[in-house]
Amino acid sequence: MNNDTLIPKIGVVTDIRQDTPDVKTFRVVAPEGGKVFEHMPGQCAMLSMPGVGEAMFSITSSPTNKEFMEFSIKKCGCLTEWLHAMEVGQQITIRGPYGNAFPVEGDLKGKDLLFIAGGIGLAPLRSVINYVRDNRANYGDVQVIYGSRSKDDLVDYKEIIDEWMADPNIRVDLTIDNPQEGWDGHVGFVPNYVKELAPSTSKTVLVCGPPIMIKFTLAGLKELGFTETQVYTTMELRMKCGVGKCGRCNIGNKYVCKDGPVFRFDQLGELPDEY
């Protein structure tokens, strides 16, 4: 019988990084080494510990990384608590890749890109940002606006400082919600910061973060003159199968796991408001 997507493969956790007090980044490889499967930026995978649970996570590493996949995971439920408690060397199950991807080889090519992320919302965008950095010639200006509750809650802070900030070809603007000792950067919410920075409306925007942040960011972008067709986001709903059959992530005639998770805002506008 052919392989069935519902039957998972094994992944070995080879590295665990504590990014923030409640976010860890896990490095996953196949038992024989190398990646379990290839993916495109924005796609997701089902991770599971049998007996504990299974859930969909966005793949935060770039496809240009040929050795491993990474997942940045926030502790918020049964499975994520278990994942946070595990040690290096643990095997988990993994299946995927699921969903569409950001159109990095399509509509985004040649465009000026603006990434806007809040908190753990950086996880899916990090994949795209690193993909773009590795294929820098294919894209125009690149700007990242990233904010979090506090300095400690900025995911991948080390990579941001050491690699992105050091990269002369991209611009990074960080912000945190409230003033904090040892922070001399910008303070304020992401949507307001975006308005302050007033990026050029020629850019194509990729935004991800808490729903409330996305809502206000989109409103701010519209004020600045951006249109809905310029803005992409990635969604999250409860999922079980990952292939548009189990019915959970259904919004209108779309299944977020299969037709999403990446949507342009004009596409989202056609769907019923139930997410």
Binding site: I7, P50, E87, K245, G247
Partner: protein, 339 residues
């Protein structure tokens, strides 16, 4: 057309069951029929249809997907799939036969569900034309002709004999396998029976129900309708409608710790349940209104939007008969159409 006298139906069942597993609808108690594995002497029900639909044969209520063995930090995945044996489901009604086409659209589209396909490949569906539709029947709303059901092979009952007609190769193979029991028969009486059934069909209380006002393009109009509050008001949030429905296909995947390994299984789930879309950080369908709306929007709008206008309902009438508060797709359609 080939036929067999009804008095010899038992012989026919015995002959089929000698070669492969045979399931027939039989009476469990007065007024309630269910599909059972045929054993010699078992009689075909006189009920119009079974309480549960026939979807169980291809999409059972629970089934194992994989086993896991965990030792220390290592996990072993066991693929427990096996080629299933050939089987025949006899006596499926036209509505349920159509439901398989609808389930196929979900489970056989890429990526193909191998668990479903396995059973679909090995199952032969032998349908039975209806001659006594009930007041709850509305299959004609969805363009189904109960006097000429789909399925691999179709049977027709003229009161004395059962006639056979093949619709597919698989159905022809089935008829060939029992050819020695069949004889050529005159269909004059059968034509009369069918004409009579059609007369009744035209007189059914729901004969006028039409899908004309529904379809993939009606999303915003109906999603935002103010009728949902009233329609869903009394809904208990149980799964009766979902579980007796031949086309409802939502499922859950769960793990069970047996003490000596983990079994991953899938089971039917219902969008009517409060925890269907519940996540660690919230629930996009918070009240019964949203959950109720989802079920009917899916059947009347979302499904046709993705499947060339085909609706996710076959008009079998099970939810009409079984809903504890008698709220159902017919009432929903009628209410949404009012304006």
């Amino acid at each position: 057309m080939l036929k067999i006298s009804k008095s010899r139906l038992g012989e026919l069942f015995d002959a089929v069951a000698a070669k492969q597993t045979l399931y027939i609808p039989t009476d469990r108690e007065p007024g309630a029929a269910e599909y059972k594995k045929y054993e010699s002497g078992m009689e075909l029900t006189k009920e119009l249809n079974t309480v549960r639909s026939a979807k169980d044969f291809f999409f059972p209520q629970t089934e194992n997907l994989a086993d896991f063995k965990i030792e220390g930090k290592t996990i072993e995945v066991k693929d427990i799939r096996e080629e299933c044996g050939d089987f025949v489901v006899f006596g499926v009604r036209a509505c349920d036969a159509r439901s398989f086409t609808i389930l196929d659209k979900v489970f056989l589209c890429e990526p193909v569900d191998s668990f479903y396909k396995n059973r679909r490949d090995h199952g032969t569906v032998v349908t039975m034309a209806c001659s006594r539709p009930a007041e709850t029947c509305f299959c004609q709303t969805f363009g189904i002709d109960p006097t000429s059901p789909e399925g691999d092979a179709a049977c027709f009952d003229d009161g004395e004999s059962i006639f056979f007609k093949a619709n597919t190769e698989k159905g022809q193979a089935f008829i060939d396998s029992i050819a020695s029991l069949l004889e050529e028969g005159d269909t004059a009486k059968l034509d009369e029976v069918n004409a009579k059934t059609k007369e009744i069909m035209a007189k059914l209380p729901l004969a006028k129900l039409s899908t004309g006002n529904f379809g993939g393009d009606k999303l915003n109009e109906y999603f935002n309708s103010d009728k949902w509050a009233e329609l869903s008001e009394a809904c208990l949030g149980c799964g009766t409608c979902t579980f007796v429905c031949p086309t409802c296909q939502c499922y859950d995947i769960r793990d069970f710790n047996t003490g000596h390994g983990i079994k991953r299984f899938r089971c039917w789930d219902s969008c009517m349940y409060s925890d269907f879309t519940k996540m660690a950080h919230g629930n996009p369908r918070l009240t019964q209104l949203e959950r109720f709306r989802q079920r009917f929007m899916h059947k009347l709008v979302y499904f046709p939007a993705n499947n060339n206008g085909e609706f996710g309902c076959v008009g079998c009438g099970r939810c009409l008969a079984k809903c504890p508060i008698s709220m159902n797709i017919v009432k929903v359609m009628k209410a949404l159409e009012e304006k």
